[in-house]
C-alpha cells in the first residue's frame, strides 16, 4: 500500500513538472514572448522608467512621449526625413499662417510693424473624416445616449481595466475637441507643465484658469464640464475649424502645435473618465489615452508591459516620398507612398537594468537598442582616426549603427551674479574664458562618453538654425582652426588669460591668495568621483583650485534658484528646432534669480537682450541669421557658460528593422518604421538553440559527489548496527 502511495506521489510530481514545462511552450526556450507571436508583425522594445502621465495636458517627459506621440494627433508634425526640420500637417489640412491684429482687433497686413501687432491669430482647419480609436466612452445605447456615462456600483463590479467594457464606439474628430484640450491646459487640477508659458501667450488663458478655479470651488468637486465656459483666445469657427489668438508676435507658437499638448480630447471622454468609480480603479485619461493616431494603447501595465496596437480607424497616411540628399541611397525612400503604419503591434517591456536589456537585444528579442557604457566596447570599436564602427560580432549579426547629434546641450554655467566669476568686467570675462580654455571637453567626451558627443561651440546645437559647421562655426575664444579642424587653444593661453584677469599662477595678484572656484553638483557616487577628479585636474592645469560641493538635487536647484551657486552643470533639450529655444536661456528677463526663469547663469546683457527681442519675432532668413551670429558672438566672448558638449546618440538596429533615421523633434516616428518578421523569426531560432549538455554534466558531477556520501551513510548505519534491523519510525 505504501509503495502504491509513493508511486502515485511520483506520478503526480511528474505530471506537475510536465504541466509546468508545457507552459514553456514551443519555440526557443528563452523566448520571453508567446510562440504564436514569433512571426507576427510586432515591434519589440523596452522602457526603463514607467510613464507617469499619458494625459496630453500633463505628459511632457521623454519616456511618456514615446507613447503619447503615437496615439494623439496634434494639428502638425515634423517631416520624418527632411532637414532642417520642417513642419507639415498632421490632423490639420495645412500649416496655418497667422494673421495679425491691432489692439482694437483690426486685421493688419502681413508686413505690419511689430509694434502695431497686438495679436497673432492662427486659424486651423482639421481634415474631415478622421475618426477616434474604438473606446467605451463613445459607445451609445439604442436611444443614442452614452452607454457608460453613469456607471453604478453593480456595473463597476465587473470593471477592472478598460478592456472589461464590452461595448466601444467611435466618432469623427472635430475642431471642438482641440478647443476643449486647450481649455484643459488651464484646468487647476491638471497642473499642465506648459500652463505658465501658454498663459503668457494664449489670450485669456490666465483668467480662464481663475474662472475654472472658482467654478470648482462653487461646485465642490466632481467633473467640471469645460464646454460650459468660453475661453476668450480660442474660438470654434465651424465643425472643422478653430482659431487661437496669441498675444503679440510669437512665431514659435506654431511649433507647440506639433506637440501632444495641443492634441484633441473629446469632452465625453473627459466626462467618462471623471466617474468616481473608474478613478478608484485607476482608469483615467492619464492611464488610458484616447486618440486618432496610428496606434492605440491596449495594455497598460507599466510595471511589466505596455502594448499598442494598430488603430483600426486610423485615417491613413503615406510614407514620405522625398527627403534630404542621401536618403534615397540609404534606402529610406524605398517605401515612399506606401500606407502607414507598417507595424501591427508594439510591445514595450519593462527593463530596469541595462544588462538584461542588452542581452535580449543580442538574442533578437528587442529590435533596437541604445548602448550603455558597460556594453560599449562589445558593440563599438573606435579606429585610430577616431571613427566609431561596429565590432565584428555585431556586423556578423547584421546589426547596424545609426548615429546623430542630439539637439541638446550639456553645459557648465557661471553664476553671473557671483562676485568672482560673474559680472561684466574684463577681469571676470577673462577668468571665464581661461576656465573655458582649460576644460578639455574633447578629453571628457573620449573618457566619459565613449566619444559620444561633440564639443559645443556655442549655445546652438547642430540641427538648429544659426548653427554653423566648419571654421566659421568655431568659438574663437577657445578654439583655433588648424589643418581643417578646430583645435583647443593651449593651456598657456588659459594661463595668459588668467594672468590678465589678475590671477597670475592662479593667485590673486593683490592678496597673493590662491583662487578657489566652487562647483555645485548633484554627483556624489563612485561614477561621479572620476568625473570630479578629472574636473579638478582641468582647473589645476591653469593653477586654479576647484572645490566640489556635492549635494542632493533639491538643494542644488535651490542654490541655483537663489543664485548662491558659483559654478554648476546643467543641460537643455530642445522643445522645438528654433534658436529662440536655446538663446532664451541667456535672455536677461528670464534670469533665474528674481524672475524664476530658465536663464540659470543670470546672464544679463542689454545688447544681447535687444537682439533677442528682434530675432525671436523674425522669420528665418539672412537678417535673422545675421542677428543670431551677433548674439552667439557676444555670448562666446562673455562666456557665461563653458559651452560643454552636444551629446551624440548611438542606436543599434537589427537587420530586420527598416526606415530608421534619427529625428530629434518628431515624436510619432513609429508609424514610419518597418520590420521583416520572417527574417527575425529565422534569426531568433538560429541564435537561441538551447544548449543542454552542461546540465547533464552537472547531473553527472552531482552523482559522482553523492555516491561516496551515500556509501559513507551506509557504512555509518552499519557501524551503528541499525541497517539490518527493521526501521522503526516511531519512538
Amino acid at each position: 500500500m505504501r509503495r502504491i502511495k509513493r508511486k502515485a506521489r511520483w506520478a503526480g510530481l511528474l505530471v506537475g513538472v510536465a504541466l509546468l514545462l508545457s507552459a514553456c511552450g514551443e519555440g526557443a526556450w528563452n523566448d520571453p514572448y508567446p510562440y504564436a507571436d514569433s512571426a507576427q508583425n510586432i515591434y519589440y522594445s523596452s522602457f526603463s522608467l514607467r510613464p507617469k502621465h499619458l494625459d496630453p495636458a500633463r505628459s511632457y517627459a521623454s519616456n511618456e512621449i514615446v507613447f503619447t506621440g503615437q496615439i494623439y494627433e496634434p494639428p502638425l508634425q515634423y517631416h520624418y526625413l527632411k532637414r532642417p526640420y520642417e513642419l507639415i500637417p498632421l490632423a490639420a489640412g495645412a500649416v496655418p499662417e497667422p494673421w495679425f491684429e491691432d489692439a482694437q482687433g483690426k486685421r493688419l497686413p502681413a508686413d505690419a510693424p511689430e509694434e502695431l501687432i497686438a495679436y497673432s491669430v492662427y486659424e486651423i482647419h482639421i481634415q474631415p473624416g478622421i475618426r477616434y480609436q474604438p473606446h467605451p466612452a463613445f459607445a451609445r445605447d439604442t436611444a443614442d445616449q452614452p452607454l457608460y456615462a453613469d456607471l453604478d456600483t453593480a456595473a463597476l463590479e465587473r470593471i477592472d481595466t478598460l478592456s472589461d467594457f464590452v461595448e466601444s464606439g467611435s466618432r469623427e474628430l472635430v475642431a471642438a475637441d482641440y478647443v476643449y484640450q486647450i481649455k484643459r491646459l488651464a484646468h487647476p487640477k491638471l497642473h499642465s507643465p506648459i500652463y505658465g508659458v501658454m498663459a503668457e501667450y494664449i489670450v485669456g488663458l490666465d483668467d480662464y484658469a481663475k474662472t475654472l478655479g472658482d467654478a470648482i470651488d462653487a461646485q465642490g468637486g466632481g467633473h467640471l464640464d469645460l464646454t460650459r465656459f468660453d475661453l476668450l483666445g480660442v474660438e470654434l469657427v465651424d465643425r472643422y475649424t478653430y482659431r487661437i489668438r496669441v498675444t503679440g508676435l510669437y512665431p514659435q507658437f506654431i511649433y507647440w502645435l506639433a506637440m501632444p499638448f495641443f492634441a484633441p480630447v473629446p469632452p465625453e471622454v473627459d466626462a467618462f473618465y471623471a466617474q468616481p468609480g473608474l478613478q478608484a480603479r485607476n482608469i483615467t485619461l492619464d492611464w488610458y489615452p484616447v486618440g486618432t493616431g496610428p496606434y492605440m494603447l491596449t495594455i497598460n501595465n507599466p510595471n511589466r508591459q505596455m502594448v499598442m496596437e494598430r488603430n483600426p480607424n486610423f485615417h491613413g497616411e503615406t510614407y514620405p516620398d522625398e527627403g534630404e540628399p542621401g536618403d534615397r541611397e540609404a534606402g529610406l525612400l524605398a517605401d515612399a507612398g506606401k500606407p502607414l503604419p507598417f507595424i501591427d503591434k508594439v510591445v514595450y517591456s519593462l527593463e530596469k537594468e541595462s544588462i538584461p536589456s542588452w542581452n535580449k537585444f543580442l538574442q533578437g528579442y528587442y529590435d533596437a537598442s541604445g548602448i550603455a557604457s558597460d556594453s560599449f566596447d562589445q558593440a563599438i570599436q573606435v579606429s585610430s582616426q577616431g571613427e566609431a564602427a561596429l565590432t565584428d560580432d555585431m556586423r556578423e549579426k547584421g546589426i547596424s549603427l545609426v548615429t546623430g547629434v542630439a539637439t541638446s546641450l550639456f553645459y557648465m554655467g557661471f553664476n553671473m551674479m557671483d562676485p568672482v566669476v560673474g559680472g561684466d568686467s574684463e577681469r571676470a570675462r577673462k577668468l571665464r574664458q581661461a576656465i573655458s580654455v582649460a576644460i578639455d571637453y574633447e578629453e571628457f567626451i573620449s573618457i566619459f562618453q565613449n566619444g559620444r558627443g561633440i564639443p559645443a561651440q556655442g549655445p546652438l546645437p547642430p540641427g538648429i538654425i544659426g548653427y554653423k559647421e566648419g571654421e566659421q562655426g568655431i568659438n574663437p575664444y577657445v578654439y583655433d582652426w588648424v589643418d581643417g579642424k578646430p583645435r583647443r587653444k593651449p593651456v598657456s593661453e588659459g594661463k595668459r588669460l588668467l594672468a590678465e584677469a589678475g590671477y597670475p599662477n592662479g593667485r590673486d595678484a593683490k592678496t597673493g591668495r590662491p583662487l578657489i572656484i566652487h562647483l555645485d553638483t548633484t554627483g556624489s557616487g563612485p561614477d561621479s568621483k572620476a568625473r570630479m577628479d578629472w574636473l579638478r585636474k582641468q582647473f589645476a592645469k591653469i593653477d586654479l583650485q576647484l572645490v566640489i560641493r556635492a549635494t542632493d538635487y533639491n538643494r542644488f536647484q535651490e542654490k541655483v534658484r537663489k543664485g548662491t551657486a558659483q559654478l554648476f552643470q546643467w543641460g537643455w533639450n530642445a522643445d522645438y528646432p528654433d534658436p529662440e529655444n536655446f538663446l532664451f536661456l541667456l535672455y536677461g528677463p528670464n534670469a533665474k534669480v528674481g524672475q524664476n526663469g530658465a536663464n540659470s547663469a543670470n546672464y544679463v546683457n542689454a545688447e544681447f537682450d535687444r537682439l533677442f527681442q528682434r530675432m525671436k519675432n523674425l522669420a528665418n532668413g539672412p537678417e535673422r541669421i545675421a542677428i543670431i551670429d551677433q548674439m552667439v558672438e557676444r555670448v562666446r566672448r562673455d562666456a557665461p557658460w563653458v559651452w560643454g558638449m552636444n551629446p551624440k546618440q548611438y542606436s543599434l538596429y537589427h537587420a530586420w528593422y527598416h526606415n530608421v533615421k534619427p529625428n530629434f523633434m518628431a515624436n510619432n516616428t513609429l508609424k514610419y518604421r518597418r520590420i521583416d518578421p520572417e527574417l527575425r523569426a529565422r534569426l531568433r531560432a538560429e541564435w537561441n538553440q538551447p544548449i543542454v549538455w552542461p546540465l547533464t554534466l552537472i547531473a553527472v558531477l552531482l552523482v559522482l559527489i553523492l555516491v561516496p556520501a551515500a556509501l559513507m551513510y551506509r557504512r555509518k548505519l552499519h557501524a551503528q548496527g541499525v541497517a539490518r534491523v527493521p526501521e522503526r519510525e516511531n519512538d
Binding site: H53, P193, G196, R304, P356, D575, A598, I691, Y713, V722
Partner: protein
C-alpha cells in the same frame, strides 16, 4: 492567547505612530513640498504659481507638524502630518502624486512578488535545512568539511553576482530560459525558474551554516543519545527528533520574515523584470512621492509586527512548554 494577541496588537499602535512620525520627519528633512511640486511639474517652464497650485491641490500647503496659526487641537490636526497619517491606520493609502490609487497598485504588484518569494522561501528552507542536517550527520567527515567550505564560498559571493552570472550562463549562453520578463498563470514558470533557483542557491550558504550550528548543538544532547540507543535510524533521529527540538531558533529567524515576503525583492525583481513591490518604494523615493513612501513603510512596519506576533504564536506549536500570557 486571545488576550495576548489583543495586547500585542495594541502595543503596535504607538510603534506605528512612531514609525510614521519618523518616516515623515526623515522624508521632509530631504524634500520640501516645493521640491515635490517641482518634481511633479518638471523643471521646464514651471512657475511659482504652478507650484502653489499643486501644493494646494495635493494638500501640502499646510504646516508640516505644528500649525501655530490654528487654535486648540487644530494646532496638530490642521497639519500635513495629521492629514496624511490618519487614513493610514484605516489602511486607506490614498493616491500617489500622479493620482493613482496606492492600495490598488499594491494589490496588483504583491502577487508577482509572492510568486517569486514563496518558492524561494519554502524550497530554500527545505534545501538549507536538509543540507545542514546532512552536514550534521556527516560531521567531522570530508562531506562536512566540503559542505562548510561550500557554504563559506556561497556566502562570500554577492547576490548581484549570482543574478548576473545566472543570467549570463543559463539564459545568454545556454538559452534555457528567458533572461527577464514575466507573465501570468502557468506561463510565469519559465520566467520564475531562474530567479527562484538563484534565490535558493544564494541563500544556501548562510542558512545552512546557521542551521548546522544549531543541529550540532542538539545532536550532542541526551535525548539524541537515547533515541540512537533505542535503535532508531539516523534519518529518523535527525529529521524527527533533532529537527523538532531545533525549531525554536529556526522559527525565530524564519517566521518573522513570512509576512515580509509581500514586500518583494528589490534587486531580483529589478534584474528579472518581475513587476512586484520590490522597486515600488525605491521608485517612489526617487520620484519624491511621499504618499507611496509612507504607505510602504507603514505596511512594512505592520507586516514586521505581524511577523513577530506569528513567531511568538509558532513557539506554542512546536514547544508545548511555551504558554503565552
Amino acid at each position: 492567547m486571545l488576550a495576548y494577541i489583543v495586547r500585542r496588537s495594541l502595543y503596535a499602535i504607538p510603534i506605528l505612530i512612531g514609525v510614521n512620525l519618523l518616516t515623515f520627519w526623515l522624508f521632509f528633512v530631504v524634500n520640501s513640498p516645493d521640491d515635490m511640486a517641482r518634481m511633479q511639474l518638471g523643471v521646464k517652464h514651471v512657475t511659482a504659481e504652478a507650484i502653489e497650485r499643486w501644493k494646494d491641490d495635493q494638500g501640502y500647503n499646510k504646516p508640516l507638524l505644528y500649525n501655530a496659526e490654528a487654535s486648540g487641537g487644530d494646532k496638530f490636526i490642521n497639519t500635513i502630518f495629521f492629514d496624511k497619517s490618519v487614513s493610514l491606520f484605516m489602511f486607506d493609502f490614498g493616491t500617489a502624486d500622479d493620482g493613482r490609487d496606492i492600495g490598488y497598485d499594491i494589490q496588483q504588484r504583491m502577487w508577482p512578488s509572492l510568486m517569486l518569494a514563496i518558492p524561494v522561501f519554502v524550497i530554500g528552507l527545505l534545501v538549507t535545512i536538509t543540507f545542514a542536517l546532512l552536514m550534521a550527520f556527516f560531521r567531522a567527515t570530508y562531506v562536512d568539511y566540503a559542505g562548510v567550505v561550500l557554504c563559506v564560498i556561497l556566502m562570500s559571493i554577492s547576490a548581484l553576482f549570482y543574478i548576473i552570472g545566472g543570467q549570463y550562463l543559463i539564459s545568454k549562453l545556454m538559452h534555457l530560459v528567458p533572461i527577464s520578463g514575466y507573465d501570468g498563470g502557468l506561463s510565469a514558470f519559465k520566467f520564475l525558474i531562474l530567479p527562484v533557483v538563484i534565490g535558493i542557491i544564494s541563500g544556501i550558504g548562510a542558512g545552512s551554516r546557521w542551521y548546522r550550528t544549531i543541529f550540532l548543538e542538539e545532536v550532542n544532547k541526551d535525548y539524541v543519545r537515547t533515541a540512537r540507543a533505542k535503535g532508531l535510524p539516523e534519518r529518523v533521529v535527525l529529521f524527527k527528533h533533532v529537527l523538532k527540538n531545533a525549531m525554536i531558533p529556526i522559527l525565530t529567524g524564519v517566521v518573522v520574515t513570512i509576512p515580509l515576503l509581500f514586500m518583494g525583492s528589490l534587486i531580483t525583481e529589478s534584474f528579472f523584470g518581475i513587476p512586484g513591490l520590490g522597486s515600488y518604494t525605491i521608485d517612489a523615493i526617487r520620484a519624491q512621492d511621499f504618499g507611496i513612501v509612507r504607505a510602504m513603510v507603514f505596511l512594512g512596519s505592520v507586516l514586521y509586527i505581524l511577523g513577530l506576533l506569528l513567531t511568538d504564536l509558532s513557539y506554542t506549536l512546536v514547544d508545548p512548554r511555551v504558554r503565552l500570557s
